[in-house]
Amino acid sequence: MHSSHMIVELLKLLAASLLLISFAMLSRRRTQRLITLFAWQGSVLFISTLLVAYSAGLTELYFSAALTLLLKVIALPWILHRLIQRLGAQWDSEPLVNIPTTMLVGLGLVIFAFGLAQPISRMATTITRNTIGIALAVIFLAFLMMITRRKAITQVIGFLAMENGLFFAATSATYGMPMVIELGIALDLLVGFFILGIFFFQIREQFDSLDLSNMEALKED
């Protein structure tokens, strides 16, 4: 009981750091840094999953933890890293909305997310129930990041961060989805990511830059 209490505190800490990382992502300009942050996010997710798995004694959570480690800590950041090396897209151009404003909006979103999550947390039985709000906040922040950035690759990172948030939500609210689903999600994520990888090169050769501002041809005029 005592140890579990410890774990809960630890989990809260991890959750807080997750949120912190999201804010950091929101504020960073360099793509390189974003990837690192993403990797950090993944690892925090991995640890928290491990803790939850241990405390709740669920074997399948170990699997998903491992999956997280493989995908989000090692594979994806590495590929992303290589990508930006190959595409030479280290710098993101100035975001559409300036950073402080984004931060403020993000703050509001966090509050909103907490408020939203309260009823859920109240009826949750998991030891991580209080962190559902944070998961939701992470999702919102990732969304915000996708909206404010104008490089394709940063949008993708935002997308992956959102995926993380979802995963965290799953673990914290329900100790993770059934295994089948987890695998399916992971597979989709991987495939989607590879498709994106292919895309980057095509976009590069067509638009000779990953700047989304080139991609505004299709519209009502």
Binding site: L96, F112, G115, L116, P119, F143, L144, M146, I147, T148, R149, R150, Q155, L212, M215, E216, A217, L218, K219, E220, D221
Partner: protein, 676 residues
């Protein structure tokens, strides 16, 4: 109100299956036409005559039903929606309009036999299919007894006629006309649909029988009525929903123009009557005033615009608006009287409206077909290039003269009968138990009289400019008369005009069956067949037959006596014209010239653009372009607003991904706020 009690008695249908069979025959004929789509001979010489015969048979069956039994007949077809099979029903109202459709249609189809030549845009076979589907759908509209069947037939009618209108689709104006037509028809149809949606009164029953039973609150009843008025008004060409009519009717080949003007508009009248007097369980007096006002305005509007037209088919199209207006005036009066509890007078007004529909079917078709013959003979539609055809095409000219006199509302022809009846019913409006109404509405009679007299003016212009005077173009010398099938068709319609005019009592009896069914009251039908005295013979009476015989007799006697007394020979000389020697055919009144007094007097109605020659012009010419104010007042603004709205909404699709994401984000947030 049709008593539901009749219903069980009439379960053994008699006329109805036959009618449906004939409709099926039409569709079959259309499909047969597709067998040899490009052979004009086959289509014209084989299919169309059969179609004409079918028309006649249809009319005959309907007539038999009207004179023999008035008990409604019902049938359910194994088609339609699962919970809503097609219901068909034959009652006096339907039979009356089927009679109209059959008899006038027979003449038109006969004419069409001679009319269709090769090189008419759409392939003849396809044309034949569209033509007969058009006829069939009109019949089905009249026979339908549930909302769904009605709507299907209604829209099929619009669709087939649209394809007929655009058969010359290579001409942009015709495509534009077709588009406008189909658009208006569709919007009108939506309104009718909504009206049915109200009428079923939440009982989820779409058979008309159920609607008869539905009790609506005053508000909803009025809503249903107004929606129906908009819907059917759009089809009938009531002002201000008329804009499509003068575009579409002239665009079509003449037999089709005749079908549309003569018959299709009547289906709108039918629908109006069906909803107002049959499906709605109650009528309010202000409905009557509304319809009366709209009708009179349309009538006047149509007459005035017809007077200034320079294209013969447009002129006829506007005259259709006028006649529809007159019919609606009658309907409005009938509603008013019925709402005020004066069923006999309501019956009188309704009879007038019905008979005028019948008349219009005959003389308007006749005139449109005549223009078709003229078109074939001269390739000219503009009045400014015609003239003197009475000497080149005596047959068409003579038959057209009958139509002209009839539509001008002159005794002893049919047009006069209905207008006489309508004026008679106006005479009773002082008895309406509403202050003001009983003083104001009599004045409408004067407006009606003005319209009728204007119609005479228009028709003198129409006939005089086309057939009388001297050829305005030398090429007209080669104009040839219509071939015998065309003449047969025209003659049949002319015969109809004369018959109804001379023996109005027959029409009165037929209409009496309808009013009896709808209002439980019919005008006095006791008098002999050559004589009408709708209320009482002391009050007012009229006999076309005696009038005709009288005129013919006196003319004959005069002729004989003059021959006997006067010994002068006849010398053919140049015309006198006050001794002016150098006169040419260009000096006679043009269509524009004939319209000039109207332009002068009713200036506010038009939007005119004049080009006057300067005193110094070496080659002076005068051009005037007349436009319907409603275009700029109503239609163009609507189009503009839609355009502007579309532009605004287009901004949503700005092409920037971030914005799109923002949309979905905001939507998400908004919904979340909404649910918690």
């Amino acid at each position: 109100m049709l008593p539901i009690a009749h219903f069980d008695a009439a379960l053994i249908a008699r006329g109805l299956p036959l009618l449906l069979l004939l409709v099926a025959v039409w569709i079959g004929l259309g499909l047969i036409g597709l067998l040899r789509p490009h052979s004009v001979r086959f289509v014209a010489r084989v299919v169309f005559p059969l179609g004409a015969i079918t028309c006649f048979a249809l009319g005959a069956v309907a007539a038999h039903f009207l004179v023999s039994s008035h008990a409604p007949e019902v049938m359910t077809l194994p088609l339609g929606l699962p919970d809503l099979p097609f219901h068909a029903r034959l009652d006096p109202l339907a039979a009356f309009f089927l009679l109209l459709l059959g008899l006038a249609g027979a003449g038109i189809s006969t004419f069409a036999v001679g009319y269709f030549r090769s090189g008419q845009g759409t392939a003849p076979g396809l044309h034949c299919l569209q033509y007969h589907v058009f006829l069939a759908s009109m019949a089905l509209v009249i026979l339908a007894d549930d909302a769904y069947f009605f709507m299907v037939a209604w829209e099929t009618m619009a669709l087939s006629s649209y394809f007929l209108v655009t058969s010359q689709h290579r001409i942009p104006e015709i495509r534009r006309a077709g588009f406008l037509y189909l658009l208006m028809a569709h919007i009108g149809a939506l309104c009718i649909l909504l009206s049915f949606g109200v009428l079923q009164g939440g009982r989820w029953q779409f058979t008309f029988d159920a609607m008869r039973g539905a009790l609506l609150t005053p508000f909803w009843a009025s809503a249903a009525f107004l929606l129906a008025l908009i819907g059917f008004g759009a089809k009938a060409g009531l002002v201000p929903l008329h804009a499509w009519l003068p575009e579409a009717h002239p665009a079509a080949p003449s037999p089709v123009s005749a079908l549309m003007s003569g018959l299709m508009l009547k289906t709108a009248i039918y629908g109006m009557l069906r909803i107002t007097f049959d499906l709605l369980h109650i009528r309010y007096w202000w409905w009557g005033v509304l319809v009366l006002g709209v009708g009179l305005f349309s009538a006047l509007f149509g007459a005035i615009f017809a007077a200034v037209q320079t294209d013969m088919k447009r002129l006829l199209a506007y005259s259709s608006i006028e006649n529809i207006g007159i019919i609606f005036t009658g309907i409005g009066l009938a509603i008013l009287f019925a709402a005020c509890g004066l069923p006999l007078f309501a019956a009188l007004a309704l009879t007038a409206a019905l008979i005028h529909s019948l008349n219009h079917a005959f003389f308007k078709s006749l005139l449109f077909l005549a223009t078709g013959s003229v078109l074939h003979a001269t390739n000219q539609r503009s009045l400014g290039k015609l003239g003197g055809l009475i000497r080149r095409m005596p047959w068409v000219a003579t038959l057209a003269l009958i139509g002209t006199l009839a539509i001008a509302g002159l005794p002893p022809l049919n047009g006069f009968v209905s207008e006489w009846l309508l004026l008679q019913s106006f005479l009773f409006t002082p008895q309406i138990p509403h202050a003001f109404l009983n003083m104001l509405i009599p004045l409408c009679a004067a407006l009606l009289a003005l319209t009728v007299a204007l119609a005479a003016y228009v028709m003198v212009k129409f006939y005089g400019v086309i057939f009388l005077g001297q050829h305005r173009e030398p090429s007209l010398v080669h104009a040839h008369d219509a071939d015998w099938m065309e003449r047969l068709g025209l003659a049949w319609l002319a015969l109809g005009c004369i018959a109804i005019g001379v023996m109005p009592q027959l029409a009165l009896r037929v209409a009496g069956a309808v009013t009896g069914a709808l209002l439980g009251q019919a005008v006095n039908l006791s008098s002999p067949f050559w004589w009408i005295a709708p209320i009482a013979s002391k009050q007012a009476s009229y006999s076309g037959l005696i009038l005709l015989t009288g005129i013919v007799g006196v003319v004959g006697i005069t002729f004989v006596m003059v021959r006997a007394l006067a010994h002068g020979r006849i010398r053919r000389t140049a015309s006198w014209d006050c001794g002016y020697p150098w006169q040419t055919s260009r000096m006679q009144d043009t269509a524009e010239g004939f319209g000039q007094p109207i332009r002068h007097m009713f200036g506010p109605f038009f939007r005119m653009e004049r080009e006057l020659p300067a005193p110094t012009d070496t080659t002076p010419h005068y051009r005037i372009h007349i436009e319907d104010r409603l275009w700029r007042a109503l239609y163009l603004p609507i189009a503009r607003y839609v355009q502007r709205l579309a532009d605004w909404i287009g901004l949503l699709q700005g092409g920037r991904l971030a914005i799109y994401l923002l949309y979905s984000f905001l939507t998400l947030i908004a919904l979340l706020v909404f649910v918690r």
